[in-house]
Subunit: 323 residues, 4 copies
């Protein structure tokens, strides 16, 4: 069953289109090339994951002397860039970052750019990149690390039709950080203890998780489970209503360091999967109030409150308006 | 007709895959989600145009006080970012920029990222963005314009099967800059002469190109054809072999300001459409040697020649190595 | 995280591929064209609906003197063709036919042709077409209607990520048959009563369902709800375990005439949405045992039982083996 | 540059859409599911090849006792089905059939179904299938081969951006028929001479074309090049203006048996690649006038001329009107 608009309306529309074009006759000869644009729209009512990945970050880390196996500042910079993306899109249900990658999960019903693949994928990559560069100084000025060349990221969009598939996707990324971080932690401790890179590699070949735990513990006195959780679990970003230590209630992008593979996580944060779940419940920031992502947002609010001092307004703009 | 690999090899491969995975058992439960990634590959042997577009640049221009209707510095910054993209991909045949957009034309035979759409589109957007930010100071420090918030760009990929379609695409963009720039030049002159924005808009409603030329000439003494060509025609970027004023032959990304709609342009630069066309012919930079895009490249070469002074190496890295 | 196969294996594979090709050197020069095939695979874990539609069936119905507004035989022929498709694919959860269209719902986990779009869409269209022609005689020989030209159908594939979306899709098609059939029944009764086609059209313009019901009842003494349910609701096809009147338990494709918009339908047939739902429960064919779709299957089984009489084996093949 | 329609028109359109829907309120709740249809349109200005392939034709050939390695009647039936497809679409430049496959090449500028992939692929598959069945009797009645179960075909669409790519595609298919037919001819001669299938296979393992030619010649006295050209080269179908032996000029779908890999073929039939090439030149049917494809068309024209005898009109419809 199909409806067609009354022909009178069609006629009016055509006339209008024609007159609008009349001023651009010069263009009309070539305009047909626009037909070659094929705008794929992502399937409705499916979770959209946009994952960005650092390009050539092995070298980027070396050139900028990032610590190994983890550089806390570099991770915090990733988190600030991730925060910027969540601030821009209120249709993101959850962000998850680890190493040089970040996943942004757009809600099933998200209508951002009419779900056009090219636009979404390229804009998230661009926005993440610019935020990463914009926040560089804030993070690295203390260590006097100047950006020696600009970083870049690629992105891809993946659709997940069910909540279970989405959870499994996030679990996959968190299992990945575990496997990699355990390996890298052991590897770099071996190297620090005097082994060459290739000897350390050989030492770890074929080892199981338990073997690596054993090496860490017996050789280096390290209990892997006591390693900082941000290294072991990555960073989850969620929009939450919080009360800061000053007692003000507000909406912030909050960094969370938890196991997201277990059901407990999803029971605790029901609004991720269900938009209608009560989210007015206050989230207790706890010690995460000290996280750069939180501090940055509080600072921006301070500035805004303090008035529109020109020298501060740059950051203000960043924090509030990404239309 | 289809060949299958001998089953013995299949067996070996499976075994290998299995053992590789054994160390990552933790991952295996969730790894199935990778199957949901659908990597579209762009049709072989077709021109790929990746066009980036500024997001919300109307506001970005206002906040950073860019001149209207054209800000030469802002265009030069776009050109430096475009140059960076051409330096990164040797499979780009031509770049074309105007206003807040830039088109990059990848050769028919380009194999970049196996022609994967998501990767190509997102990476070009990210690279352009980071280069734009990286070169900001070089361009705007003289005018003391600080970046108040990070810019961003989206991108799309469009396929053109024939050379004619590709030429028409580029002609379309160049016709577009003509139509817009003539309008904007007249509009802002009217506004500068005292009209309100809406009165200027009304004044121009329904006018033809000839009308606008007439307004410019009779009211403001402006011969539109004498306006700077970069405003009227946009910027073409081509890789060329040049001899600098110092007499050294080298390969540079060269900015060119010409009409590309006419056949003459394509006869003059045959290597765009035909990779095998002689390109060892030297291109005479002429007065374009003064262009920031050229000056930047020459400067980087100077530094490289002068040795690896640490304080200079950041830019060096940018200019030479985008692997 | 990505694994690459040991390079030695890559080498072996390449060598093998090379030698396999050596016997077909003639082909090798042109074989590159295979790279242009872009096989879209339908998103995993989503319902796939393949809907076929008659091409030019308005004329086909006229040429073959089908009754209006409904021709029961023509609908039964559609059902026999639909049955053939369900017999071919055990991954179809439900079929739904009305007018000259048929929808086939492949399960979320269906792996048919690796979910390749072109193959699935074209094969279902082809199979439906050939079955429609094959069963023609069985249906129309009684009325001596010879096929005067071959019918054809197009098909499309649509993905539905959730069970709710799928139910709404089927409800949409069943609501469509209601709207159309009520209109057509009233229209053709008006025409039969002497109105010209265009007068009947005018009479119905702007009428609501209630108006049409009223016309049917007051003018023609027809209670629409007493019209045959196959006209009002279309035909649902489900694989069911049944006991025929002869007492033999077996698996058949069963035609069902019910409202599928209500929850009751889905509670009654839980195996549609949930593959693991008990389906060993026996389905009572009731009066539907007389349906051609059932009679045909029973007859084929009879023949098979009776032995492989050559003259019968054609149909046997059709009914049992569509590998 | 983008135009938006005046908001007043948008408003009118919305209102209209709303009122049109009011009569179908029952549908409106579910109609949203239509948004899930993603209609891929094939890239403009590219050659579209739709290739159909027999499903399970190995078994179909056995069941219907087709001769090996080639059954001339079966090939002629394929050709009649291919002819029907060319009659239906005047945007097909060339058809090419071999074995159980047929390729249809739609012109670069073809606008059939707005180049929608699903529709094109499924309809060609359906049309080919129904024509194959429709013509069965004409071909096989002489041999008293009844169709024991309906055949089916799948189809795929492939885009080729250049004329060279298209020629290489067709060359690939014709090289394929050569390789296969030489193999099969030798294989079945070996089997006919007493070898088991597996012994014949072993005998041919690793042999080159020259080896097979040698076996055919020395063992069976067969000069492969004297084998019927339809077996060695497949069938090309082209629309041509011809003069039949009766002297009447007309437009027919003509079967041609030539080497299409060489340039000579393309020089002889320039209208394939260039729609504007003179095609009013008369094509000399020669001995191909005896081909079933030609005989069928001439016969249909006879009937039409003879008047609209009812019993003949079915075929008439087929031959003339596939709207």
């Amino acid at each position: 069953m199909q409806f067609s608009f009354p022909s009178i309306l069609k006629h009016i529309l055509k006339q209008t289109a024609r007159s609008l074009h009349s001023s651009t006759m010069a263009l009309s000869r070539f305009e047909y090339v626009k037909q070659f644009e094929q705008e794929e729209k992502l399937l409705p009512n499916s979770w959209i994951v946009v994952r960005i990945d650092g390009k050539g970050f092995h070298r980027f880390c070396n050139v900028h002397s990032f610590s190994k196996p983890n550089d806390l500042d570099a991770l915090q910079l990733m988190n600030l860039a991730g925060m910027t993306v969540l601030q821009e899109f209120n249709e993101i249900a959850i962000g998850y970052g680890q190493s040089d990658e970040y996943s942004f999960v757009f809600r099933r019903e998200a209508s951002v750019y009419q779900r056009r693949r090219d636009k979404l994928v390229s804009y998230v990559a661009s926005l993440f990149t610019s935020a990463y560069m914009f926040h560089w100084k804030r993070i690295f000025d203390g260590r006097s690390i100047a950006m020696r060349y600009p970083p870049s990221f690629d992105a891809r969009a993946v659709l997940y039709p069910t909540d279970e598939n989405l959870r499994d996707y996030l679990s996959w990324r968190q299992a990945d950080v575990h496997v990699n971080n355990l390996y890298n932690t052991t590897f770099w401790n071996l190297v620090a203890s005097g082994l060459s890179n290739s000897d350390a590699e050989k030492r770890l070949q074929g080892t199981l998780a338990s073997d690596k735990n054993e090496i860490l513990f017996s050789q280096f006195g390290i209990n892997y489970n006591n390693e900082p959780i941000i290294y072991r679990k990555g960073t989850i970003l969620l929009p939450k209503s919080v009360v800061s230590s000053e007692g003000k209630k507000q909406r912030l992008i909050v960094p969370i360091f938890e196991d997201l593979i277990s059901d407990a996580f999803w029971a605790k944060h029901p609004e991720i999967l269900d938009k209608k779940a009560k989210t007015d419940e206050l989230y207790d920031l706890g010690e995460n109030e000290a996280q750069p992502v939180v501090q940055y947002q509080l600072e921006m609010q301070e500035r805004r409150k303090a008035g529109m001092n020109k020298s501060e307004s740059g950051n203000r703009l960043l924090a509030t308006d990404h239309s």
